[in-house]
């Protein structure tokens, strides 16, 4: 008798992905405008772990104060955005749904800008106020966008969602300009944040991303079966016994936490949540037991490599990381639009 195909990855696959991620991390630490030999990198990292700093002072400073926090933030953001994208695409049964295409990232930006303008902070953790507002606004935006789309088209078709997302993003960018005009005294800090990439990341940023990723993973990974049911169809999900409202809310909150914290730390990095789950789906099929962990791993690697390209291709000049992801993303976006319903794995 034929047995059911295993749904999740084998342990060996997880090991392989972890190894790939580790290699990418090391590559990104060594390569940059200043090349640091592998042996020096290991020496600096190892001595820092032991608490007795050694190695070339210049290398120490570059690795420990600039590259390591940045690389950690980039990797965590890549994983978070891709995981969020994969979950959103399953929930809405729409391969083009993602923070930046839906307008949720724009909403989160508005929250972040408002927090900076009004000086909303939580003592001790500099970015926590901005992140909290970004998460809240991401959630409010998602609710608004989905309600608007539902009123226009009950089937929540791709065209409606993307159209509403584009209009909402334009609307929100106008609101951001209004905020900037009203709080002209804060224009410097707002401008610093809006231009901000992951270049000036700190360990605190990395810790916040890690916590957001950890908590959201705790919610999302156990909901892989429910996401499969939603990806087949919401009505079908109800019929097979999924508590639709409760699960939907849990997924949406988790996704908004992921997007909100990423936006607060690194601004809007478009298309990551679109490109990565799409590539992973081509490799592993749409089952979320593979798609979610696969997207998190590949997302980290993808964003690390994009960041590496952004800071090395035209060195010493540096491109914003969003330029690279949008270049790749636009091509994938168009290809998904064209592929429509044909050719998936058989």
């Amino acid at each position: 008798m034929t047995t059911l195909r295993r749904e999740g990855f084998r342990p060996a696959t997880y090991l392989l992905m972890a190894g790939l991620l580790l290699l990418t991390l090391i590559l990104c630490l060594c390569v940059g405008s200043v090349m640091i030999p592998l042996s020096d990198t290991f020496e600096v990292l190892w001595s820092a772990i032991k608490g007795q700093p050694s190695g070339t002072p210049a290398h120490q400073s570059i690795l420990l104060h600039v590259r390591l926090p940045r690389v950690l933030c980039v990797g965590l953001s890549g994983a978070a955005l891709s995981l969020g994208g994969a979950a959103m695409q399953g929930l809405l049964r729409n391969p083009l749904a993602e923070g930046s295409t839906l307008g949720v990232s724009s909403g989160a930006s508005l929250g972040a800008v408002l927090a900076i303008a009004m000086g909303f902070t939580i003592p001790g953790i500099p970015l926590a106020g901005t992140a909290a507002m970004a998460v809240l606004f991401a959630f409010l935006s998602l609710m608004l966008i989905l309600s608007l789309s539902l009123v226009m088209d009950r089937s929540l078709s791709t065209n409606t969602l993307i159209l509403v997302g584009v209009v909402f993003s334009l609307f929100v960018s106008s609101l951001i300009n209004v905020v900037i005009a009203l709080y002209s005294d804060k224009i410097r800090s707002i401008a610093f944040w809006t231009m901000g990439s992951l270049a000036g990341s700190t360990y605190q940023d990395a810790a916040m991303l890690a916590i957001a990723l950890f908590l959201s993973s705790l919610v999302l990974f156990p909901l892989a079966s429910e996401l499969n049911a939603f990806a087949v169809g919401e009505e079908n999900a109800r019929h097979v016994g999924v508590s639709v409202k409760r699960v939907k809310l849990a997924i949406m909150i988790s996704v908004c936490v992921l997007i909100g914290v990423c936006v607060a730390v690194g601004g809007t990095i478009g298309f990551v949540g679109l490109v990565v789950p799409h590539i992973v789906r081509l490799m592993t099929g749409p089952n979320h037991k593979r798609l979610l962990p696969g997207s998190a791993f590949i997302g980290a690697v993808f964003l690390l490599l994009s960041d590496l390209a952004a800071r090395t291709v035209f060195r010493p000049a540096e491109l914003p990381i969003g330029v690279i992801t949008s270049l790749v993303g636009a091509v994938v976006f168009v290809s998904i639009m064209f592929r429509s319903r044909k050719a998936v794995r058989t």
């Binding site: 034929t2 059911l4 169809g233 009505e235 019929h239 016994g241 508590s243 639709v244």
Partner: protein, 252 residues
């Protein structure tokens, strides 16, 4: 097993379903028939709790509205009229979703019977050979059989079917009805299905709920409900005469 009383669905001022009541006992196959717009699919949605309604639906004596989705799914399986799957899941993955309600919550995901039930459902519906194929590559009939396999794998006591032979050619139409008839032989089971084909309703049903413009005009054993007069009243034409004349083309 199932009783509905005063089920009403209203969109704005329009009542799509108007105080519909009926009962369904074990061993019965209730056919819901009526012209387009009679509210047949809405009735099915109201029973399945996917369409908001007023009135009461009792499933095995319990109010379906207050039942947890998992519990309801273990008792009641629903086959929708149309299926649009967005991603390339395999046939097997879609069928295995039918076991969702039988699996333990989150960390206790055990379902000892699951694999056997999925295999059996795939075999019954003739989908075993293409179990690893993407649902995006299936014909309408194969997709219909995939979702039928899903409800069989769900192993409920009560089946709600909306046009079960939709998209199926005559061979599979006959097979699917025979399958459901066979499924119903097990004691403690019942079927409610929405059908357009009155001959199928007459042949396989035990009871009929005849509907028109949201109202249940007649309810009872098929022989008493599906009469020339009742059908003419609801459809506004001599249905029996038309069906007989259709059949006569084959006897000449």
């Amino acid at each position: 097993m199932l009783s509905a009383s005063d089920l009403t669905v209203q969109y704005g001022d329009r009542k799509v379903l108007d105080h519909v009541s009926f009962t369904l006992d074990a061993g019965q196959w209730l056919m819901v028939v009526g012209p387009n717009g009679a509210g047949k699919s809405t009735l099915l949605g109201a029973i399945a709790q996917t369409v908001p309604s007023t009135g009461q639906v009792l499933v095995l004596g319990q109010d379906a509205r207050h039942m947890r989705a998992r519990k309801l799914a273990r008792i009641m399986g629903v086959l929708s009229q149309s299926h649009r799957v967005g991603y390339g899941f395999t046939v097997e993955e879609v069928v295995a979703l039918g076991r969702y309600a039988h699996r333990g919550q989150v960390f206790a995901a055990s379902d000892p019977q699951g694999e056997e039930m999925v295999n059996q459902a795939l075999r019954l519906t003739g989908m075993e050979d293409i179990r690893r194929q993407s649902v995006l590559t299936l014909s309408g009939g194969e997709l219909q059989r995939t979702f039928l396999a899903q409800v069989f794998a769900q192993n409920p006591d009560l089946l709600l079917l909306d046009e079960p032979s939709n998209h199926l050619d005559l061979k599979y139409q006959r097979e699917v009805y025979a399958l459901i008839e066979q499924w119903l032989q097990t004691p403690g089971r019942a079927v409610l299905s929405v059908v357009h084909d009155l001959s199928l309703a007459r042949k396989y049903g035990t009871h009929t709920l005849l509907m028109d413009k949201g109202v249940a005009t007649h309810f009872g054993p098929c022989a008493e409900v599906l009469t020339r007069d009742n059908l003419e009243q609801v459809y506004g034409m001599d249905v029996v005469g038309w069906l007989t004349s259709l059949l006569s083309v084959w006897t000449d």
